[in-house]
Symmetry: C2
Subunit: 330 residues, 2 copies
C-alpha cells in the first residue's frame, strides 16, 4: 500500500527541524540507548523514558562506552554526554520534547499502547518515530488519536555508528510527516531511505534475512559451519560491500558492458540451484530496471573507473581490518 | 556427497609446495588474469594459455592495472610483473608447470574437455584446480584420465585482492589432493575454506545469491530501487561484514547472552515474512550448532568485547570509505 492516499492534516504545522533542541527517547535498551548517545553527540538534549529501574545506569554505561567512538567521528558543538535525564513518568519525559524516538520491545500490543500514550502526551505537531524492525505503522498506530504524525524510523544497530535509517509511513501517516522525518534524519547525518510502501522487514533486513536464512539452512544440512559462513563473507564479498552494494558489485562483474552484459549473459544462472530462494523471472522490464538503476548509480563512471575505486576500497578496508586484528585479536 | 570415500591413488607423490616456482594459468580473462597477477605478486613465474589473439595484450593491461594495488599490499621477494609468458599452445603453457589454475568460461562441455586436455599434458602429480563458480568437479572431471588430481579452487573477484578461496573435490578427487590444495593456497596468503561436500554455489555465492535474488524480487515488485538496495547495504550491515560475518553479527544482537539469547528470544521472527526465503525449522540441534559455532568463533571474547571490536571496525571502515569518496567521488 502506498501512503499517497493518506489524508492531509490541515492542523498543526510541523516543527522547524533546525530549531529543535530536545528529543525524547522512549525506551532506552540497546537501540534506544544507542539513539540517545547519537542525539547527544549531535548536540541535543535527551529526555528518556524507561520503566526499568536499572535503565538510568544502563544507558549511562552505554553512552560512556559509545562516546569515544562518537568523538572519533566528530561531535557537534556543545555536545554533552550528560545532557540526558531519565524518567519513569512518560509525560515528564515528553514535556518540551520536539521529536520522539520510540524504541520499545518488539511486542505489537505494547507498541500500540505506547504509541497511543506518547501521542496523548506529546505536544501538537511533534513527530513520533518508531524504531520497530518488525511492524508496519499501519498495524501499530491503531490506538493513536493522531496517527498522521506516527512514522517508522528504523535504525541499524548500533544507531550511533551505522548511518542507515529506513523511513516509511503507515496508511494514516501524513506524507508531509514522512518527508519531514527523512529531512530531519538527514540533517542529523543519517543515510535515509524513504520507502513509499510498507514492506515487512523494510529493505536492509529483508536482504540480510535472506542471507541469514540461507546460512541457517546450510548449517542445518551440514553444508557449512558457522565459522565457514562468517569467513566466506568477511574474507569474500563483505570486503566490497562497504563501498559498493550488491547491485553495483554485479554491474562490475559484467565487465565493460556492466549490468546489461551481466544479465544478458549470466541471467540463466538465476535458474541454478545456488540458493534455496527461487529467483524472479528475468523479464525485459526487470532487466531494464536493474540496468537503468546501475547506470544511475554509476553516475557517469565507467566500469574500469568503478573497478579502480572498488580495488582502492578493498585494499583500504583490508588494511584497517588487518590492523585491528593485530592490535586487538579481533 | 563427501570425498572421504574417494580412492587413494598410490601413484605419483604430490609436489612439495614450497619448491614450486612455475604456475600455469589456463584461460586469462578477468578471473584467470587476476590469478596471474596474484601469482606474479607472490613471486611465481606464470605460463598462461588462452585461445584469444588479444589475450596477451589484455592480461598485460590487467596486471599493470593491478600491480599498484598488489604493491600496496606487499610483494614477495623477486616478484616481477613481466615474469609471464602467454601461449596459444596448451602443451607449451603446461611445460614445466608445477600447479595449474583453470579459468575457462562457465560452459560445462568446454570445462570437461579442457580439464581432460590439461590432465593429458600436465606432468604427473601436478594438481589441477578449477576456478569454476558453477560446476562440481564430479560433473567436470568425467573426461579426465586422472580425476584424482582435479579439484575446485574457487576464487572471488578480483582474485588478486579478495582473500577467499573455496576448495572442494569431486567424487574421484583424492582427499590428499584437497588437503594439499588448501595448504598450498594458504601458503599463497589466501583465506581457504575447505568443503567436505559439493554444494551448488559453494558457500559465499549461495549467501550472496540469496541476497541478490531477494533484491531482484524487490525491484521486480517495486518495493525498492537499485540505489536503495545498494545503499541499504553500504550504509547498513555492509559496514559490519568485513570484520564480523552474519553469524557473529547476530551473536552480538543477542546482548550479553549472545546467539543463545538471540535464537531463544527472536527465533520466532524466523517465521516472519521478512524475505521470500522460507526459514528452516529452528530445532534444538540447529540452535545448538549455531550457538556452539558462535562460541567457537568468539574464542573467549565476551559480547561486550566483540561489540567494542565491531565498533572500532565500523569507525575505521567508515573513515576509509568516506575518505575515498571525498578523494575520488566513489
Amino acid at each position: 500500500m502506498t501512503t499517497s492516499s493518506a489524508p492531509q492534516t490541515p492542523g498543526t504545522p510541523l516543527p522547524d527541524a533546525a530549531s529543535i533542541t530536545t528529543i525524547a527517547c522512549v525506551g532506552i535498551g540497546t537501540i534506544g540507548g544507542g539513539w540517545a548517545a547519537y542525539f547527544l553527540a549531535r548536540g541535543y538534549r535527551v529526555q528518556a523514558w524507561d520503566p526499568s529501574p536499572e535503565a538510568g545506569e544502563r544507558v549511562r554505561a552505554l553512552i560512556d562506552a559509545a562516546w569515544p567512538a562518537l568523538t572519533q567521528l566528530g561531535l557537534a558543538e556543545g555536545a554533552d554526554p550528560h545532557n540526558i535525564s531519565v524518567h519513569t513518568d512518560l509525560a515528564e519525559a515528553l514535556d518540551g520534547a520536539e521529536f520522539v524516538q520510540e524504541n520499545a520491545p518488539e511486542v505489537l500490543e505494547m507498541k500500540q499502547q505506547l504509541l497511543a500514550d506518547i501521542d496523548e502526551h506529546a505536544a501538537p505537531g511533534v513527530v513520533i518515530a518508531s524504531s520497530t524492525s518488525g511492524y508496519s505503522m499501519t498495524e501499530m498506530a491503531v490506538k493513536a488519536t493522531h496517527p498522521e504524525r506516527l512514522v517508522v524510523g528504523h535504525p541499524f544497530n548500533p544507531p550511533y555508528l551505522i548511518p542507515l535509517v529506513e523511513v516509511v509511513g503507515g496508511e494514516s501517516t501524513d506524507p508531509a510527516v514522512v518527508d519531514w522525518t527523512s529531512r530531519w534524519y538527514e540533517q542529523l547525518g543519517k543515510s535515509v531511505i524513504t520507502m513509499d510502501r510498507e514492506v515487512p522487514g523494510f529493505i536492509a533486513n529483508r536482504l540480510q534475512e535472506a542471507l541469514w536464512r540461507e546460512a541457517l539452512h546450510m548449517v542445518d544440512n551440514g553444508e557449512a559451519t558457522v565459522e565457514q559462513i562468517d569467513r566466506s563473507i568477511t574474507d569474500g564479498p563483505g570486503l566490497r560491500w562497504p563501498l559498493q552494494g550488491p547491485m553495483l558489485t554485479f554491474h562490475l562483474a559484467g565487465g565493460p558492458g556492466g549490468m546489461a552484459h551481466m544479465l544478458d549473459h549470466f541471467g540463466p544462472s538465476l535458474k541454478s540451484p545456488w540458493t534455496r530462494l527461487e529467483a524472479p523471472e528475468l523479464t525485459d522490464e526487470l532487466r531494464d530496471a536493474v540496468v537503468a538503476g546501475c547506470d544511475e548509480e554509476a553516475d557517469g563512471r565507467t566500469v574500469p573507473e568503478l573497478i579502480a575505486q572498488r580495488d582502492q576500497a578493498i585494499i583500504a578496508v583490508r588494511q584497517v581490518v588487518e590492523q585491528l586484528r593485530r592490535e586487538t585479536g579481533a
